[in-house]
Amino acid sequence: MIKIAELSCGTEYSGVQGEIEAAASTVGGKMVYPDIEAEDIDNAVEEFGFNPVSPQLRLMIARAIHLVEGHYDADAVFISSCFRCAEGALVRNEIRRYIQLHSRIPVVTYSFTERTKASQLLTRMEALVTIVERKELLARERQVGLTAGIDSGSATTKCVVMRDNEIIGKFWTPTGAVIDTAEYVFNEACKEAGIKTSQLEAVGVTGYGRFTIGKKMNAKLIQEELTVNSKGAVWLADRQKGDATIIDIGGMDNKAITVHDGIPDNFTMGGICAGASGRFLEIVSKRLKVDITELGQLADRGDYRKVKMNSYCSVFGIQDLVTTLAEGKTMEDVAAAACHSVAEQVYEQQLQEIDVRQPVIQVGGTSLISGMVTAIKDVLGYEPIVPPHSQYIGAVGGALLSSGFLEG
């Protein structure tokens, strides 16, 4: 049983405490609340130096200090407060930073609404538990034997076949019926590798459809995409040691993950706004009547500064783009503005919540759109690394980690 310390405000009165506990228990975790003496709270707040008015936030600070000082034993920390509460957001972020600076306890943060469900929390909780439970597996840096990885994403499904630390087959297609699509990419990747599926020694699956596919394919590894994608990204970018930040902007959601030696220590996930995902670029491509694969080059020739966008929204923001076209601005400028809009939103929503460490490795389907890489570079002020096969990180991570089950 993994003990996850909960530092939170408002979960019970938002009706989401049960969802948090359900998500934790699904992945073999248990929420616990670090005990604290009432009289220690003032001292803790004074020591911390941030003095919120809401008592519950003061309690959160005291509990964080208690954990860091080792007075309470927990394997991981979950920090959470109400969405739209400024006081809560400030405290949430500062105690997250404090815990990471002063301890090695994995942390995950989340701001919830009354609509938050266990399923939304599951990936976070699963990653926390994986980091605690599979530390040794996650330390693996070389793929051995003959293995495959399948990444069942919300927009596309990818498969990679690896032999002795090399990619020998790969295939992707848009996600349709989860199992059928997975079987299709799996067979095609094996075909490209020139092997029979029966020859594979292990399969690892990740992504939204991981449980369904994993069960069906008897996968050795069924793991959430945060830890798996991190491994895939550092392997592909050959940055297995030290710090890095992975920016993974996919078809439906996006992730920003900080890693140390390939193991995630913090991450944020988008997923409530299409404006910060590849979906936004898809809609723009359709409106511009260009193929999504051409959007990047188009954007590279444009200047986003010439287009005024008042919103990141895939409805209102795109309306701005269309209006701009009507005003006679070029397709190139509009494409550049669209890429910049996604990059800016990822920067504002995700990258503010983690300490961005260089190098930045840009991956996910949108990393194939060159204009998107340019936009991220503009926003960050330095060039991200885009490794080869950057859309296959999840599949590579799955093949690499599942090979860990072959030895000993």
Partner: protein
């Protein structure tokens, strides 16, 4: 008479109201109703997203869910209250009263209701505590 207390989970205020012959309205009785209702399963308090929506009567959608949820739960009490005692600046107010923003709007709503109201500050020393208890007794004694 039914007396709503703020903080609604206060041991001191609950005890004083009861001791001086009135019925304290506290969060605890609501929690009891919620946890005893086995048909709902949203542990540990059984506050559901629908409860949070009921809070929209008191605060808009742009207000965090924890505030609306608390107001929805407490409204069941203060809607039936005959009088209120508000104790501000309680040094430690956790759990249901842990959100300062909720307490601001709650106190405002209570003041708007026009019922007998006693406003106190949490006592800082023995003298203030004695005065506070005497004020509570005087206030409750005057409720007829």
């Amino acid at each position: 008479m039914k007396v709503f207390i703020v903080p609604p989970n206060s041991l001191i205020l609950f005890d004083l109201v009861e001791r001086f012959g009135h019925e304290p309205l506290s969060t605890m009785q609501l929690i009891q109703e919620m946890v005893d209702n086995l048909e709902i399963d949203s542990p540990p308090l059984n506050v559901t997203p629908d409860d949070v929506k009921r809070g929209l009567k008191y605060a808009g959608i742009e207000v965090p869910s924890g505030i609306r949820g608390r107001l929805a739960v407490w409204s069941e009490l203060f809607e039936q209250a005959d009088a209120t005692i508000i104790m501000e600046d309680a040094p430690y107010a956790f759990g249901c009263v842990g959100c300062h923003r909720t307490n601001l709007i709650l106190n405002y709503l209570l003041r708007q209701r026009g019922m007998p109201l006693l406003e106190l500050r949490y006592p800082l020393d023995d003298e203030e505590a004695m005065t506070m208890v005497l004020q509570v007794k005087g206030f409750l004694g005057g409720l007829k």
